[in-house]
Symmetry: C2
Subunit: 225 residues, 2 copies
DNA sequence: CCTCCTCCTGATGTCAACATTCGGACAACT
DNA sequence: AGTTGTCCGAATGTTGACATCAGGAGGAGG
């Protein structure tokens, strides 16, 4: 996840399986509501059910899937209520992350943010895949949380990160032009404020940034699913 | 939790194991830093290693234990940095939960809060176990999150709830008299503000409530563990 | 005496088979 | 016809055995 230190931490098959399934969900190969059967996944991924099970538990922690007692695991739906919940929480988390990062971020993190904005600008100018722009968007906020250096805060962010990723992908489908036009400028402003801005202004802008995303997504959603 | 329908949700052995181990940690039978060996727990609880493993994963999601690749699972330490992280995040979450609950809470939740304050007052007057007072403290905030009705927000709260429980137990050890004296009044004020208070005042008081707890805990901790 | 290498021990990671449970199909009953 | 009770299939929950790995004890070499 764009960490500074690759750390080479050896991961188990459970993490591997979680990554594969997560990628499949974000790619749309598992549409919202799809059932994720353990035996099926185990056979397809070439690992045991135990590992798949552990990987699915991880995705459940990320909020990408939901499961119940003897009721299997399914991909979450994207209802207006879900979007509302995630974005309201994200606004509070982003506000805290931004104000904290404003205090403690070092130059390395700040320049990394500038670099990401530059990449976003290049990507938005071209007409490439929208997926890549969304990935850069998420990576930008990953950096802010990393800069804040609060492990629990980062964990809370990671608990909604994947859901947000899924939502943002729908957002570009719904409002592609609008998204491309504003995404670069909004992030550039955030990067500037993080380097040398008033804390209160930064807090307000961080919340507004989320609110902007929420509204543009809700506009393209069915009102009552 | 206090839903109209008890739902009688049947739980698996993993949940059972997680509950047992969590209780043991909060009781002090597993002190901070203690190693939680899977085979040992499995034998002692009378279940298989797989179930214990899944239960430990759940406790890891709650932040009560930490684990690494082939490095086992250990109870978290209580360092000043950990306390700082949890309370800073909690302040942001509590602020959001309180302001949301102020808008959407129904009478049932509000009267439940009053009832909890009354119980706390009765408990603080007597000289019973401090554990019970802390449990009521946590339950009070559980109610606020339930009243807010945001599932993701509640999940974020539950990710630090058990750690907070652990910290608060240390807090009463460190500053027992101070805690008893203030805990009832602070919660009573929060309950009042939730029923009919200015939102901005409520938000400020919610953050101050957390800050008060943080400082009184940090005061009784070793400076550099 | 210190350093490095090797091996060993105890633990976790992984697996495939067994037991339990949910949900719907089907039929009997009212 | 609508409802209730029963049965069956398929998926999950659980288990014990096997494979793999981290960390330290011990000894050879410097």
């Amino acid at each position: 996840m764009s960490s500074v230190l690759p750390k080479a931490a050896r991961r188990g098959l459970a993490d591997e399986a979680a990554d594969l399934v997560r990628a499949a969900i974000l790619d749309g190969r598992f549409p919202p509501g799809a059932a994720l059967r353990e035996v099926e996944l185990a056979a397809h991924l070439g690992v045991s059910r135990g590992s798949v099970r552990e990987g699915l538990a991880r995705l459940e922690r990320e909020g990408l899937v939901r499961g119940g007692w003897h009721r299997g695991t399914t991909v979450i739906e994207v209802t207006a209520e879900d979007v509302e919940e995630v974005y309201v929480l994200r606004a509070a988390l982003d506000r805290l992350a931004a104000t904290t990062a404003r205090r403690v971020a070092d130059e390395e993190h700040l320049s990394a943010l500038d670099r990401l904005v530059a990449e976003m600008a290049a990507e938005a100018a071209g007409s490439g895949e929208a997926h890549r722009l969304v990935a850069l968007d998420i990576a930008f906020h990953d950096r802010i949380y990393a800069a804040a250096g609060n492990g629990r805060l980062t964990a809370a962010w990671e608990a909604i990160r994947s859901q947000l990723h899924l939502f943002q992908l729908r957002r570009v489908d719904a409002a592609r032009a609008h998204y491309r036009a504003r995404v670069v400028e909004e992030h550039r402003e955030l990067a500037t404020l993080l380097r040398s801005g008033d804390v209160r202004t930064l807090a307000r802008r961080a919340e507004e940034h989320v609110d902007s995303a929420r509204r543009s997504l809700l506009a393209g959603l069915p009102p009552a699913p």
